[in-house]
Chain length 200, copies 2
């Protein structure tokens, strides 16, 4: 089996949500696994000087329109959350805990959290909600509560953010295939061709 595909994402990124619905099917069709890499866009923005897209004049209004249309284009359910964007520090920490404890459940947890936010409008930074989501998919809710407050997990997220910057991650989703970078859900067609042809 070839090296894993690195999938860098932020739970508050609609384009990450859309790409997360397809990335492991795409990977496994080419004999790859997915390394889910939660991180915080806010940490990147300290390097890039970026601000949330929806806060930019002109781009903000377009972006919300495009989130919804891109979801329809991909056939993925989507509802604009009532609070957007939000801090995703707890959902990112919780994901690192799932990866460490039950790695085979990581994709299930990631998609459950994305769905909670972008379909069911739940507050995915709230620890009660995260514990409930864990419980709904058969993970240990009490252990999750402990994990998001665990200094080792907090450290792991700091390291994950630094790792993202070190790898040139400049937005989300950001996908690395054998060091080849693809930024954005709209680069999945190029990624697919890259995997099929071994580059182009």
């Amino acid at each position: 089996m070839s090296a894993a595909i690195d999938f860098y994402f932020d739970f508050s990124s609609p384009y990450s949500y859309l790409a997360a619905q397809e990335i492991d099917k795409l990977a496994s069709a080419h004999g790859r696994s997915v390394e889910w890499r939660p991180m915080l866009l806010g940490a990147l923005f300290k390097t890039t000087g970026g601000v949330p897209l929806v806060d930019v004049p002109l781009k903000g209004a377009y972006a919300i329109h495009d989130f919804k249309r891109s979801a329809r284009y991909s056939g993925v359910p989507f509802r604009m959350p009532s609070a957007f964007p939000i801090s995703t520090v707890n959902s990112a920490r919780a994901t690192l805990w799932v990866k460490a404890q039950t790695p085979a459940r990581t994709a299930d947890f990631v998609r459950a959290v994305f769905k909670a936010y972008f379909v069911d409008d739940r507050n995915i930074n709230d620890v009660d909600q995260l514990a409930a989501i864990a419980s709904e998919i058969g993970l240990d809710a009490e252990a999750l509560r402990a994990a998001v407050a665990d200094p080792a997990i907090k450290d792991a997220l700091r390291v994950a953010n630094e790792d993202a910057v070190a790898h040139g991650v400049c937005g989300a989703p950001f996908i690395l295939v054998d060091n080849e970078p693809f930024w954005g859900n709209d680069r999945l067609p190029q990624l697919k061709r890259w995997l099929t042809e071994g580059g182009f």
Copy 2:
């Protein structure tokens, strides 16, 4: 024939160059013409607070890589210009003059200027170069020289920039189909489906 497709672009935008290779084939396949709308990204940036992509930490390095790969993906020749980005005020003015004088030649002129910049590395803000490009495709070089200094053409470009902001144009290329906005060369697949299905 249905309403024209509005194609807003800046000659210094590689993604505009790529989209310009496809937009009129796509339009005519759906009984549409293309309204070529040159404008200056710098004028938009006053509203959006934007800066050229290549000047943004992390994003800059990725962007140059992505320009080249996106060109290969589309099968379009591309060479990163030695000076980038540059002012495109004269090439935009020259285009407005072509549109006014010989509208049927607008697409030819636009593609000749894009090729001069993104394939042949010519300085497309230089009036001598623009006059030469006009001459190469059978347009009146001396009339072009006069046009780029004509106060009426200068005014027309100011109005074009204001029109872009008024229509919510937040980057380039930016395409309007019956008021439905598509930003970016990577939205051509959605645009194609929109034209085919009359929306989705």
